[in-house]
């Protein structure tokens, strides 16, 4: 697992610093701190965050409201959020879980429990991401197979027509036939790439790549 960045959001400097120090000693995570919901939202605009530990009760914007705003941009797989709460805030907690929090830990934070929950949610996020990539690939495969078939059929008809005696030895017809056969060849190669399940890429322009089919 690459070095992950955890953002601790808590208005209590003492609490967030202590948690950051404990995580630094017990794990390889990079920790960032935000003292308010506003600061958290600003940080998310400029920094890649892998998981957030968010205190529920903060002055100004409550953790619950920040959570709702974050979920407008990031789903629970893209950015897991673990709420940090005192035991007396259980009613707020239900609202948080319904609004998209992945989990919660209670204050005082047991560092081993926190670390275990963080690791679990980071792994879950990673597995979910891989699964969604696989589904995306399967959808693309199906799309290619479908269009392969849909293009091949009219191409076959067009080439068949060009074989008619009326077009025999006529240069435009021969050129057209050769172009159509080239399209047939390209489609066959696209199919081969799909069957291989992995593609080789080559530069197409400065900002885009194309699949190598030759």
């Amino acid at each position: 697992m690459s070095r992950k960045t955890i953002l601790i959001v808590d208005d209590s400097k003492f609490d967030r610093t202590l948690l950051a120090k404990a995580l630094a000693r017990k794990s390889e995570f990079t920790t960032l701190q935000a003292k308010s919901g506003e600061e958290c939202l600003e940080l998310l605009k400029i920094q890649k965050i892998d998981l957030i530990l968010m205190d529920i009760m903060m002055p100004g914007v409550f953790g619950t409201q920040v959570l709702i705003q974050i979920r407008e941009q990031f789903n629970p797989i893209e950015l897991p959020i673990i709420m940090v709460t005192s035991k007396s805030e259980t009613s707020d907690l239900i609202g948080c879980l319904q609004s998209g929090a992945n989990d919660y830990i209670t204050k005082p934070v047991n560092f081993d429990v926190a670390l275990s929950r963080i690791s679990t949610h980071l792994k879950l996020a990673e597995v979910s991401y891989e699964m969604s990539k696989l589904k995306e690939m399967a959808a693309l495969d199906a799309l290619i197979v479908t269009y392969n078939h849909e293009i091949n059929s009219p191409l076959g008809v067009a080439i068949g027509c060009l074989e008619a005696p009326v077009f025999k030895n006529q240069l435009p017809a021969e050129k057209l036939k050769s172009s159509l056969w080239r399209i047939v060849d390209v489609i066959k190669k696209i199919r081969e790439v799909t069957d291989k399940k992995e593609a080789q890429y080559t530069d197409y322009s400065k900002f885009s790549k194309m699949i190598k089919i030759k």
Binding site: F14, D15, K21, R25, S86, P108, D112
Partner: protein
């Protein structure tokens, strides 16, 4: 309140130490940070009481409650919780009396934490 003051320790030393297992250096660092932070935390409560600002009292007491909870300091936590509830309008007690009790408890807590630091240094 006087009952638990005489019988109960200001913090649960065993649970506190077990949470810092393998991070001995962080124990004295955390206690030292607490000593540094405490005057501001209590003065925020004092100011809120003086200005009769219930919203500030709730927030300041909530923050202190969270901080002392890291030491599993139940007596202080309970008194901070009471002030938080007074601030929230859910408890009808004299906040000045509760605050004075809290100050006594916090003093007991700092003494016990200082003893722990001294023992760690000797060991």
């Amino acid at each position: 309140m006087s009952d638990f003051r005489q019988t109960k320790a200001a913090f649960d030393r065993d649970i506190f130490l077990s949470n810092f297992h393998g991070m001995d250096d962080l124990i004295s660092e955390t206690i030292s940070s607490f000593f540094t932070a405490l005057p501001d935390l209590t003065s925020a409560i004092e100011t809120a009481i003086r200005e009769k600002n219930l919203a500030d009292l709730e927030l300041a007491a909530h923050t202190l409650k969270g901080v002392v909870a890291n030491f599993y300091a139940e007596p202080s936590k309970l008194l901070a919780w009471k002030l938080e509830q007074i601030g929230h309008g859910q408890l009808n007690e004299d906040c000045e009396i509760v605050f004075r009790q809290l100050q006594v408890e916090l003093s007991r807590l700092t003494n016990e934490l200082q003893n722990l630091v001294n023992e760690t240094k000797v060991a």
